[in-house]
Each structure stands twice: as structure tokens, then as C-alpha cells.
Symmetry: C2
Subunit: 189 residues, 2 copies
DNA sequence: TACACTAGAGAACGATGGTTCTCAGCGCAA
DNA sequence: TTGCGCTGAGAACCATCGTTCTCTAGTGTA
């Protein structure tokens, strides 16, 4: 028998896999039960409703995202390098089997209009990413606007890579980000 | 009584409004019937299945998108201006009531994994937009890569504007595009 | 008037979903 | 051993959905 923490973890991981691969509404709670190996009763004692489970999955994804970005940034010596590392992180992700775009964007499109909790979780995640970018941009001594511009490239890369399956997207996004950063540094070339 | 063409148009328009506002799976065919004022029997004689209706809605959106982009581009004298006009078009759109992101991205996230027809329609639309950008970029005498980079900004702007409701996104995307274009012109400042 | 045909309203159908309930089995305290 | 409480498996429940069917009313024609 699993303790609450392990059961919770198993359910979230299973739901994440299924929701990401097929979309939330295409996956029944029974499929989650089967994938997680945790009874429906238990799932509903851990999460009051499917909506709460979706939110838990998104929070879990936020943690993974943050960790991935941090790991990529750790290899860079400068703020500029840390910003561009985002695109190397994306590049590796886009090449993974089963990559299907940004789970937050997908969930927002599917449920944002009908579930305020999901919409809020998505917004929170995207705002947190923008805050992160802004922090690094400031370290680099560049204006805040640059952060949003780089973020736009990262977001666009995610949806475009998902839809077109073009494996080159992250590299192009990185080069565009370089151009934006170069243009933003006070003319000291 | 409506002839087939008018009925088709009414159904597509109604479905478009509902699907865009709430997501596809959250809208039943009965709601489409009520909104369009066309009987279920008629709808099913016009579209073999909901999936086909979704595809028809997407094709209709593609036409609207193309027309909007063309209209925006018509006011610009240079290829560079036509490229940047995309962001003015987006800016006006983002400010509309009920703006909820790109219908193609939303549909792809929701149905891309389960409906090959929807996935194909979305891919087609995005590829067509990339082709358009590539054409204008070539007119400007710039390398193809620039087109994809500008497209990434436009895509990122759409999802970010939808999620954060930040009204300034299109302007920032435009400025980033300017930086990319400037960086791409052979150094003749 | 009688008839054939069509279209719309909405009931019906079969499937599926989220959520709850039942029940049989197990561990454990006394 | 007896009985209590908890658990998992899955049936049950109720709503909803996509799709089809029925029935009624109206139209045009002879």
C-alpha cells in the first residue's frame, strides 16, 4: 500500500503523461486510475475533482520547467548566456519523443475558458517565467522590455515546434534572441 | 428557409463563435444548432460529423486571417512595412473583446492528438503563414531564416497576449521584429 | 381535396464521462 | 477468534454528447 505522498505522486505523474499526450478532456479518470495503479476512491480522496488534478499536474510541470531552466542556466557564465540557455533547453525538449508543445498553452486553450482554476495556474506559470527572464535581463543591465521580447520567442518556438514538427525552430529562436540582445546593448560594439 | 450555402455559412459562423469562446469539446452540437438556428438534421446533412465542422471552421478562420493580414499589408509601402504590419494587425485583434488567443493553436492543443484532420488543418494554416512571411522577406532581400524568426514572434505574441491579457504584447513583438530585421540587413546602416 | 415530399423540432439511442456507492477481503486490537 | 475499520475493484448513477430517428406540419401539384 502506498502512503499518501507516493500515491499522490503516482497519480500526478500518470495524469501528466496522459493529459499531455491526448489532451485533458480526452482522458477519463478511469484511464488515470489504470495508468497510476491507484483506485478511483483513493484518487478522489487525494483530489476533490478532476479539475483539482489538472491544477496539480500543472503545478508539477511548473516545478519541472523551473528545474530544467535552472539546470540549463547553470552551465552559463554570463546573464546573456543564461538567457540563451533557455533555447538550448527548448531545443533538447523539442527533440524528445512525444513532444506536443507547451502543456500550459494546450491546457489554457482547452480549459481556460471553462475552468478559472486552470486559467489561473497557467497564468501563474507564464508570469513566473517572465519574472525569471526579467531578472536575468536586469543582471545583464538591459531594459525590461528585452525580457518580454525573448519570452515571446520562447513561447512562439514552443507552439511552432509542436505544430510544424520543425526541429530547427529552437535554433532559429535562439538566433533571433541574440539579435534582440545585441540590438539592446548600448552601442559599444 | 435557407439555401445550402447560407445554412452552411450560418453554421460555420455560429460554431466558430462558440468553439472559440469555450473550446471545441465544451460545446455540444445542440448549442451549435441553437446559435445557428439550423436544425441538427440539416447540420448533419451539411457536415458528416463534428470533426468535419471543426475543420470547416478552421478553414474559415484561415480565410479571415489571410484577408486581415492582406488588409494590414496593403497600407504599407515596403516589404519591411508589410512584415511589421502583421503586428499592427495583431495589436488590433488583441484588443478586441473576447480575444482568446489563436484558434489554431487552441484547437491543436485540444484535438491535435486525437483528430488527424484537425491537426492537418492547423499545420496547413501555420505553414501558409510561414510561406507568406517568407515571400515578403524575400521581397525585402533578406534570408529566409528571418521569416521564421518573425513568425515565432507573432505566434508567441498570440499565446502570451491570450494568457496574460497584457495589451502591450503586440507592440513589444513589433519592436523585436524590427531588431531582427535591422540585424539581418547587410551592414549598410 | 388528396397525395407525395421535405424540413424542423426534439425525442431517442448508445456511448462515455465524472463521481459515488457497494461489497468483499484484509489487518489489527482486544 | 471476533468484530471494526479501511481499502481496492469495479458496479452504479446521472448527466452529457454525438448522432440518428420519428413525427408532425406545411408546401406544391394535380
Amino acid at each position: 500500500m502506498l502512503d499518501d505522498v507516493s500515491a499522490r505522486t503516482a497519480v500526478v505523474a500518470a495524469a501528466d503523461r496522459l493529459f499531455y499526450a491526448r489532451g485533458v478532456q480526452s482522458v477519463g479518470m478511469d484511464a488515470v486510475r489504470a495508468e497510476a495503479g491507484v483506485s478511483l476512491k483513493r484518487i478522489y480522496s487525494l483530489f476533490p475533482s478532476k479539475d483539482d488534478l489538472v491544477v496539480a499536474v500543472l503545478r508539477h510541470r511548473t516545478e519541472q520547467w523551473d528545474a530544467g531552466i535552472a539546470r540549463a542556466a547553470a552551465g552559463a557564465a554570463t546573464p546573456r548566456g543564461r538567457l540563451l540557455a533557455v533555447f538550448d533547453f527548448l531545443d533538447a525538449w523539442f527533440r524528445e519523443d512525444g513532444f506536443r508543445g507547451c502543456a500550459f498553452i494546450n491546457s489554457f486553450g482547452e480549459l481556460g475558458a471553462t475552468s478559472p482554476a486552470v486559467a489561473a495556474a497557467v497564468r501563474e506559470h507564464k508570469e513566473s517565467f517572465q519574472r525569471y527572464a526579467r531578472g536575468v535581463v536586469r543582471e545583464a543591465g538591459l531594459p525590461d522590455d528585452v525580457a518580454l521580447q525573448v519570452v515571446l520567442l520562447a513561447e512562439g518556438a514552443q507552439t511552432t515546434a509542436a505544430i510544424t514538427q520543425d526541429v530547427d525552430v529552437a535554433r532559429q529562436a535562439r538566433r533571433a534572441a541574440e539579435a534582440i540582445l545585441d540590438a539592446a546593448v548600448p552601442a559599444t560594439a
